[in-house]
């Protein structure tokens, strides 16, 4: 059994910031556990510069933000970074099991931050399981982390920020994107991203979706069609596009399995993209000692995940009995940053969702 003061599950933006904050707040023995060989979560594949404010590393590229956070933790004697480690379960007595460097280990932390992130959704259409149909994140991973092109001719489904940004990244990598199609009547992502890809010649077809995919062992073509106001396909509007990649960017759902198993009270909240833990303002769940941060607590984006991580790290340190002289100022700062990141229509939906999840 490995005893530790604080265990952080997930080394993405939320988990890394939780570790930095907890260490600053006096926690002496922190383990960050991540199943990848490299920390940073999805940050390491973000080639674009971030928005937000200076505190959230605005104008810095995502992979550089990851490097800043990881470098800071590597020098921190309070923190152990466990990569290549997958958390397997959380038991009633607080024991957490994991596969770590190929071995089965048991960990008994005094507090835990669950920052497991989210997984990509898919969409129902005929032949949606053909090789060549990928989540947008998979394409980012192949391209931006490992330098492998997803294919030659791509159709992107979804004009939210991820769909638009990944399209731009494919163009950067020299991949031909034939069209972006979007089921909603309007583009969901920021107009600045949409304008950028349109200027580079990629059409964005709103009120369109995939009718079916074609191919035997690989994707060969995609038939799209127009949708009416009830989101039903309109016969006669079909267009067949030859493509070897269909990139699906229709949102994410929180990876809350470990929270369910730990007995945390969960709620289905559509504006947070699925089942999320009930929590208080400090990101404490209904199970004492278990805190949450990032997409697992409601799908947003990396900037708010970093601030949420800070807040959860602070809350965990206080729960562990550490005295933090400026705790009120820190908390007020994080809540204010989160509030300003959640702006516009999307921000309002997220705030409504969080209000429903907050106890």
């Amino acid at each position: 059994m490995i005893n530790t003061e604080l265990l952080i599950l997930g080394g993405g933006p939320a988990g890394l910031c939780a570790a930095i904050e907890a260490s600053e707040a006096g926690v002496k023995d922190i383990i960050v556990l991540d199943r990848n060989q490299e920390l940073g979560g999805q940050l390491v594949k973000q080639t674009h510069m971030f928005f937000g404010s200076e505190k959230q590393y605005a104008s810095t590229r995502g992979f550089d933000i990851a490097k800043i956070l990881i470098d800071k933790l590597k020098e921190d004697k309070n923190v152990k970074l466990w990569t290549d480690s997958t958390a397997l379960s959380i038991y009633e007595d607080g024991v957490i099991t994991a596969e770590h460097e190929g071995k089965y280990v048991k960990i008994k932390p005094k507090a835990t931050v669950v920052a497991t992130g989210a997984s990509e959704k898919t969409l129902a259409f005929s032949n949606n399981d053909l090789p060549g149909i990928f989540g947008a994140g998979a394409v980012q991973t192949l391209m931006n982390q490992y330098g492998v092109k997803p294919g030659d001719d791509v159709v992107m489904l979804g004009a939210g920020n991820i769909g638009l940004i990944v399209t731009y990244q494919m163009l950067q990598a020299g991949v031909n994107v034939k069209a972006i199609i979007e089921g909603a009547p309007t583009i969901g992502g920021y107009l600045v991203h949409a304008s950028k890809v349109r200027r580079m010649g990629v059409p964005i077809l709103t009120s369109h979706s995939v009718k079916e995919a074609h191919g035997t062992n690989n994707l060969e073509a995609v038939t799209i069609w127009q949708l009416n106001e009830k989101w039903e396909g309109i016969p006669g509007t079909e267009q067949k596009i030859e493509a070897d990649v269909l990139c699906i960017s229709v949102g994410l759902s929180p990876l809350g399995e470990l929270l369910f198993q730990a007995g945390c009270e969960m709620a289905f909240i559509p504006s947070l993209s699925g089942f999320v833990p009930k929590r208080d303002e400090n990101l404490a769940t209904t199970v004492p000692g278990i805190f949450v941060a990032g997409d697992v607590s409601g799908v947003e984006e990396a900037s708010s995940a970093m601030v949420g991580g800070r807040l959860a790290g602070l809350s965990a340190a206080l729960y562990l009995g550490h005295k933090v002289a400026d705790k009120d100022a820190r908390k007020a700062d994080y809540l204010e940053q989160l509030d300003s990141l959640r702006h516009g229509d999307v921000g309002k939906r997220i705030k409504d969702g969080i209000a429903q999840a907050t106890i």
Partner: protein
């Protein structure tokens, strides 16, 4: 299928290694996920569904979806999107649920 020039990213020098996929020798870079090496070699049909045996490839590439499980060095159900490639690895298409040790 490899990106040669990128305006923002530099993938640096990587060590080339060899491995086999269903008996066929392929090349890749050490410690990249097996999935990246297979994809770069144009191998996208890497698994099949349990009941209807439909072809399957990568979907999420980050260890969530279980669409890419293969037999690696004789061990079944390895998520090749996470497993680092090493010199001389044997990678095989899995039949059914694979053998449990």
């Amino acid at each position: 299928m490899r990106i040669e020039n990128h305006p923002v990213l530099d993938f640096g020098e990587r060590k080339a290694v060899k491995f086999t996929f269903d008996g066929k020798e392929l090349g890749g870079y050490e410690n990249e996920p097996i999935a990246a090496a297979l994809h770069a070699a144009g191998m996208r049909d890497i698994s099949h569904s349990l009941v209807k045996h439909r072809p399957r490839g990568l979907y999420c590439a980050i260890g969530n979806c279980s669409s890419c499980m293969m037999v690696v060095n004789g061990e079944s159900n390895v998520r090749i999107c996470l497993e680092p490639l090493k010199e001389g690895m044997t990678v095989e298409t899995q039949k059914g649920r694979g053998e449990i040790l």
